[in-house]
């Protein structure tokens, strides 16, 4: 086992996949010689050549469309969109083309494209470097969508995505690239080197899509979270001394309904946490799923913790970010007696 941060783990995933399959190619802005603005593709062009690790023009729509065409012609492209906030020019290619190609051609054509994009806030990136658009992909039929919360899952999900014959959107919480983050910006940053999920096998493995992980078993309530909020929610529950069962969704589509609902049926209480805006956020889907499956076991209304329904404001980063204070209020509400 090696110690890796999330950047190294993602890099290792692409390295392993490229080493095993000559059809795997990487493309995106600044991903080649420079190795990516977050260094996720560092060294790959040196190792695999500039014909397999392509610096592209600044055209997200072009990147995804070209990846689709490559995929149709037998390659397995891994496309990087430099920030999730910049994916929208590619949205038509993703929604109308990539997601539906298999369906509309009755399986005769498909494009096994993986789209990676850093997402989320907490890096003073303002509204153009902080968004969490997972629900915009989750709502599109034909895309698998995953958000890792740690280096181990990041590598396993990315290799799984590359090997998957369906298109996959991998959202990478950039605040977690270099270490876990519990939501308190005033604490000194910690690395992944002391975290168990910073231990990452150097070679091939996958984390399956459609499988959530119980990060912590507990009896008093269930916290359903993903990405950065797994760490924030865990810290908030620990600070309250709650025996919370914490579930990392990991795979948004397909969703591991059984794991989530078995837990809520057991605890009878549920808090859902994500960074994205609240209204019609993925939390709404999670809450509806829990309601449908656990209604008779619920002891209190399901609580949602989310970003406010505004763009991500530069000056109010920590008032916007759903930190421990917001989680704590939701936990208290969920623990109210009937």
């Amino acid at each position: 086992m090696a110690q890796m941060n999330m950047i190294q783990a993602l890099n290792s995933a692409m390295d392993v996949a490229m080493g095993r399959d000559p059809n795997v190619v990487v493309l995106g802005q600044d991903v080649g010689f420079f190795g990516g603005v977050f260094r996720c593709t560092d060294g790959l062009q040196r190792k695999y050549g500039e014909h397999r690790v392509l610096d592209t023009p600044i055209a997200e729509g072009g990147i995804i469309a070209a990846a689709l065409g490559m995929g149709v012609n037998g390659l397995r492209p891994v496309a990087e969109v430099q920030f999730a906030d910049y994916v929208y020019p590619a949205y038509d290619q993703i929604v109308s083309e990539l997601a539906r190609l298999r369906y509309r051609s009755a399986g005769e054509f498909h494009a096994p494209v993986t789209v990676r994009m850093p997402c989320g806030g907490g890096i003073r990136g303002g509204q153009t470097h902080s968004q969490s658009p997972e629900v915009l992909f989750a709502h599109v039929c034909g895309l698998k969508v995953a958000i890792p919360s740690n280096p181990y899952d990041a590598k396993g999900l990315l290799i799984g995505a590359i090997e998957d014959d369906d298109p996959v959107i991998l959202l990478e919480p950039k605040r977690l690239y270099n270490g876990p983050f519990d939501g308190d910006p005033n604490k000194p940053a910690v690395g992944w080197n002391t975290h168990p999920k910073g231990e990452v096998p150097a070679d091939h493995y996958t984390v399956p899509f459609g499988r959530a992980e119980i990060v912590r078993a507990g009896s008093q309530l269930t916290i359903i979270a993903y990405g950065t909020m797994v760490h924030v929610a865990a810290a908030a529950a620990a600070a309250m001394g709650l025996d919370a069962e914490i579930i990392d969704v990991r795979s948004i589509v397909p969703l591991d309904v059984d794991t989530l609902c078995t837990s809520v049926c057991k605890t009878g209480r549920c808090v859902i946490a994500h960074e994205a805006t609240r209204f019609a956020g993925f939390g709404a889907e999670l809450a509806a799923t829990v309601m449908e499956n656990c209604f008779w076991n619920l002891e209190a209304p399901i609580q949602r913790v989310a970003g406010w329904d505004t763009p991500y404001p530069h000056a109010f980063e920590w008032e916007y970010f759903p930190g421990q204070a917001r989680v704590t209020l939701a936990l208290k509400a969920a623990m109210e007696p009937k």
Binding site: Q29, D30, F33, F34, V37, K47, Y48, G49, E50, H51, R52, L54, D55, T56, P57, I58, A59, E60, G61, G62, D85, Y86, Y88, P89, R124, G125, G126, Q127, T128, H129, R278, F279, W308, D309, T310, P311, P313, H314, A315, F316, E319, Y320, A325, R326, T328, L329
Partner: protein
């Protein structure tokens, strides 16, 4: 392992550790290109789309038909605006390094692109800048203290804390809100110009973007709509050779010029020495006159060099030779205009030093004033309730509720 394949992958002429090499750059001697009348057909712009419009020669004299014949006062004003822009940029980068700003993007080496164009347009013309056009803000008389307050996201921030540094705007100064998303402003400027034509106004629009951004579909939307509707707009591609780590060849500059995209859409294309204040001024004037008189849009490529990093988050030493800027064949726009003025007997090293000192003092004084309105970490802060305003014209009920929830959250955590 380097795969050989039939795919052509553009490579910059030099990477770190290699000697800078600008032999790829097509240059024309100053004064060599003709200046057609502003109502000429786009077909006549061929030489200008592939050559390079230059006015200042090697001895810093203004030569040829593109010489705009500006008076000494205008030249000195241009020099002053460019110098102020540079001093402002340098100091803001320093303050970012000291942790006083979260982020900054300087325009060093590209000052003429904004300042000369800004001066060549009318004050009522609507400008749609990109994020490296601070010279336009200076020309339009934006106070540095107002720009600094935006950079600081403080209580006097024109964006009320919503935007990353450098994403300025000013409706009164007719400077459109800068977007962090690339190229989006280009077709918007065309739409503004179409509205001006519909309403019978004489004002025109102008927009800027980098050559890297011209890969975005929005660039092509802009040229197409501008051509179809003969919109009164000046479209500027600032070819500063580098889009973060990718050189202009990756954006499609290897096989042809960016100016040549204009004729492909039926628009004149002008390829201009972007570090030649007079050439930028003259080309902008030509395009503006053409637009104002019903001739439609012009695409201008401004050939320049990004002398600094892409942003304070970038380190160009990782991907290009450290000394590349010094080898840039088109020199420095401030130095060139300064030498031109000295050659005319209208300026001197001593006066330049004096101006430098005066402007640096101004930047310093305005920074001190800006700090009184707060910083990201000290002093007065914007009211947090502002976070919920301007999402819609009226604050809707769900945001009113969220505003109250935030108040409760903050009350509970203190």
């Amino acid at each position: 392992m380097v795969n050989e394949s039939r795919l052509h992958v553009p490579a910059p002429p030099a990477r770190p550790g290699q000697p800078p090499d600008f032999s790829y750059l097509q240059l024309s001697p100053a004064g060599a290109l003709p200046r057609p009348p502003t109502n000429a057909s786009w077909r006549d712009s061929g030489p200008m789309a592939y050559g390079l419009i230059r006015v200042l020669d090697e001895a810093h004299r203004a030569v040829g038909p593109w010489d705009p014949k500006l008076g000494a006062n205008d030249l000195r004003l241009g020099l002053k605006h460019m110098l102020l822009t540079r001093l402002f940029d340098d100091r803001m980068v320093r303050y970012q390094r000291q942790g006083k700003l979260s982020f900054y993007m300087k325009s060093t080496g590209e000052e003429a692109v904004s300042v000369a164009a800004g001066m060549a347009l009318q004050p009522e013309d609507m400008l749609f800048p990109a994020y490296r056009n601070q010279g336009l803000q200076v020309v339009r008389g934006q106070r540095l203290v107002d720009l600094m307050c935006q950079l600081l996201s403080n209580t006097a921030d024109m964006c009320r804390g919503r935007q990353l540094p450098v994403m300025y705007h000013s409706a009164p100064a007719r400077l459109f809100s800068i977007s962090g998303n690339l190229a989006t402003q280009f077709p918007q400027a065309v739409g503004w110009a179409m509205a001006a034509a519909i309403k019978g106004e004489e004002h025109i629009a102008a927009s800027w973007m980098g050559e890297g951004s011209s890969a975005e579909a929005d660039f092509h939307h802009a040229l197409l709509f501008a051509s179809v509707y003969r919109a009164p707009v000046v479209l500027n591609v600032v070819n500063n050779q580098w889009a973060i780590s990718t050189f202009q060849g990756t954006a499609g500059g290897e096989q042809t010029s960016f100016a040549a995209r204009g004729p492909a859409y039926g628009l004149p294309g002008l390829r201009v020495d972007g570090n030649d204040f007079l050439a930028v001024y003259a080309a902008t004037r030509w395009a503006a006159e053409r637009a104002r008189s019903g001739g439609g849009a012009t695409l201008i490529e401004l050939v320049t060099y990004r002398a600094g990093a892409h942003s304070t988050s970038d380190d160009p030493a990782r991907y290009r030779p450290r000394d590349e800027a010094e080898s840039w064949p088109l020199g420095d726009p401030i130095e060139r205009l300064k030498q031109h003025l000295i050659g005319l007997g209208e300026w001197s090293e001593a006066r330049h030093q004096e101006l430098n000192q005066e402007l640096d003092g101004q930047v310093n004084a305005e920074w001190k004033e800006a700090l009184t309105f707060g910083t990201m970490s000290d002093g007065p802060r914007l009211n947090r309730d502002l976070m919920f305003e301007d999402v819609f014209k009226e604050l809707p009920e769900h945001l009113r509720r969220q505003r109250d929830l935030l108040r409760a959250e903050l009350a509970g955590s203190t």
